[in-house]
Each structure stands twice: as structure tokens, then as C-alpha cells.
């Protein structure tokens, strides 16, 4: 039973990544010959950006949940593996930011993004140790972080108001916290819906982010 979530999350993660890959690949080629099922296609660079960001941010939540599950389960080697995967995802997200705003912005974004992961690790540590003070400190750090992240994106893109971004990131933090709390409580019936909600929420960040970037750089993200 303890391993079922890990297996489920692993399957969901792989499915998400594969489906994202399929979605991005067929954006160039359209429906596959002989297929009776119409493959999703992206007809604009803006749509490609949206698809890519949704895939990366959804993957972030799923891999994070795998990592927190291993951490709470005391599976050190598995946690290290998941943490490495999560960091690889972080590098890809930063790369996506850099593809729009340049290498310096990518270099500035990555440590900022990694920082919130560190605070989540702190929270998980507090939960595992049943240390309420440590949990509260981590949550406070994460709430403060939402302001930093909001400021970063609003500085990069005037179409993204700081308060709006901060609020969306706060929801990300809280929905992921629900997953962690359910994992820690071994409430396996609650973990899946919480994870599903947390992953789905990332579309509320990816979509407006992609739209704001396309609006900021209309020539770069024009229809083909």
C-alpha cells in the first residue's frame, strides 16, 4: 500500500511527460497518417509556449510529490533520485524563461525558483519531525517567496501584476501542501485528488504566463 502512491505518481508523471512530448512533437506534424484520432496540434508559437509551460509546470508538481513521498517514507536513495529529477525540471523551466528573456534572466530565475523548493523541503522536514514551529517557518518563508516570485515576473513582464502572480503561486504552495499533509497522514484516499488538484492548478499559472509573454512579444509569438 505504501508503495502504491509512488507507483501511481510515477505512472502519472511518465504519462504527463510523454503526453507533453507527443503534444509538442505533433505540433509540427499534425495528425499522424492513418490515425483515426486527431492529434492535438499547436498552430501558433504562442500555443506552443503555452503547451510547453503547462507540461513543465505540471511535471514540477508531480515530480515534487514523488520526492516528498520518498522523503516522508524515509527512502533516501529514491528521494535523491526524485530530487535530481525535480532539479532537472527546474533547469528546463529556467531555460524556458531564458528563451524569452535572455541568458541573464535565466541565471536570475533558476536560483529563485530553486529557493521555493528548498522551503518545501523545510516544510516536509518539519512535518516528518512533527515540528510545528519548523512547519510554520517554512510556510512563512513560502508566503514571503510568493511576493518575490510575483515581483520577478512583474518586472520581466508588465502584463503580469505582482499581486496576481503572488496569489497564483500561493495557491500552488497551498495545494502542494495539501498533498504533503495527506502523504504524511498516510491518507491515501486523499493524496490522489489533492495531487490532481495541485497539478491542475499549474495551468492557472502557465496559461496567463504564456499569454502575457505572447502579448509582450507579439512579433516573436505570431501565428505561423
Amino acid at each position: 500500500m505504501k508503495n502504491s502512491f509512488v507507483r501511481l505518481t510515477g505512472v502519472v508523471t511518465i504519462a504527463t511527460v510523454l503526453s507533453a512530448g507527443c503534444g509538442m512533437a505533433t505540433s509540427h506534424y499534425g495528425a499522424m497518417p492513418g490515425s483515426t484520432m486527431a492529434m492535438a496540434t499547436s498552430s501558433t508559437k504562442a500555443a506552443d509556449l503555452k503547451t510547453g509551460l503547462n507540461a513543465l509546470l505540471g511535471e514540477h508538481v508531480l515530480v515534487a510529490a514523488v520526492a516528498t513521498s520518498h522523503a516522508l517514507g524515509g527512502r533516501e536513495a529514491a528521494f535523491k533520485g526524485a530530487a535530481a529529477g525535480l532539479d532537472a525540471n527546474s533547469v528546463e523551466i529556467a531555460r524556458a524563461i531564458g528563451s524569452v528573456y535572455g541568458a541573464d534572466a535565466e541565471k536570475a530565475f533558476l536560483p529563485l525558483w530553486r529557493r521555493h523548493i528548498g522551503f518545501v523541503v523545510d516544510y516536509v522536514g518539519g512535518v516528518a519531525a512533527k515540528d510545528k514551529a519548523k512547519q510554520d517557518n517554512a510556510v512563512n518563508d513560502l508566503v514571503q517567496y510568493t511576493q518575490d516570485f510575483g515581483a520577478f515576473l512583474s518586472s520581466a513582464n508588465p502584463n503580469l501584476p505582482k499581486a496576481v502572480v503572488a496569489d497564483l503561486v500561493k495557491s500552488h504552495v497551498l495545494t502542494l501542501k495539501d498533498v504533503i499533509d495527506a502523504q504524511a497522514a498516510r491518507d491515501w484516499q486523499k493524496v490522489y485528488p489533492a495531487l490532481r488538484a495541485a497539478a491542475a492548478h499549474m495551468q492557472m499559472i502557465a496559461d496567463p504566463l504564456a499569454d502575457a509573454i505572447a502579448k509582450q512579444f507579439p512579433a516573436k509569438f505570431a501565428a505561423r
Binding site: 535523491k80 536560483p111 523541503v121 515581483a151
Partner: protein
């Protein structure tokens, strides 16, 4: 169990690069050649000091202006080794800090709230 969590924490920061000591050297803007002007300006924008490296003449007044809607600091030294020369909070958008540099040398600085933000001043 405690040892496990210590290793989890260490694994996390090692992989995620959160610990400032593991970060790469100072972030240097690659956008342009270093500038030499009296009364030079450094803009803090999108969590970067722009330009990241600035050349000024001895006696120049350098002004940092925060264009981000969040508090940053201009703290002399590096996160691993602050040197105490200056440490100013720029509370939000529009906040400024100025200092005159009379002694030639290389002055590294960073943001204490966001330690990956680093810059360098070269006084000639």
C-alpha cells in the same frame, strides 16, 4: 532517523543549489562592455544588477536604483564573506542608494535577500 533528515536536507541543497556557497561566481552582465563614467548608475531589475560589472574612475559617485517591486539590498562583499563596507536596504521600486568610491580596487557586492544576485564595481 535524524541522520536521514540531515542527509535529505544536504541532498536537497546540493542538488538544488540553494546554498549560496555552492553558487557560481559573481553574476556578470554579458550584455555590454564595462562602462567608465563619473556618477554612474546601476539598475536593479528582474533580480539582476545591471550592468553586473561596472568600471568607474576613483572619486565617482555610484547610484543603485531598485526597479523591482520587492526589497533588495546592496551589501558589499560576497554572501560567503560580506566585508562590511556597505549594507543598504532598498525597500522597493524607486529606492536608491549612492556611494562615492575614492579608493581604486574591485568591490564585489550582492543582495542579502537574494544571494544569487551579485555585482562588481572596478574603481580605477
Amino acid at each position: 532517523m535524524k541522520r536521514f533528515w540531515q542527509s535529505v536536507g544536504l541532498a536537497a541543497v546540493t542538488v538544488m543549489g540553494v546554498v549560496p556557497a555552492l553558487a557560481a561566481g559573481p553574476l556578470v552582465s554579458q550584455a555590454a562592455d564595462p562602462q567608465k563614467e563619473p556618477g554612474s548608475a546601476i539598475t536593479i531589475r528582474v533580480f539582476q544588477f545591471q550592468p553586473g560589472q561596472l568600471d568607474v574612475k576613483a572619486g565617482s559617485r555610484v547610484t543603485w536604483t531598485n526597479q523591482d517591486d520587492i526589497e533588495h539590498t546592496v551589501t558589499s562583499g560576497t554572501p560567503e564573506r560580506p566585508d562590511g563596507r556597505f549594507n543598504t536596504r532598498l525597500s522597493g521600486k524607486g529606492a536608491t542608494f549612492s556611494s562615492t568610491f575614492t579608493q581604486p580596487g574591485t568591490y564585489s557586492y550582492f543582495c542579502n535577500r537574494h544571494p544569487s544576485m551579485r555585482g562588481q564595481l572596478r574603481v580605477n
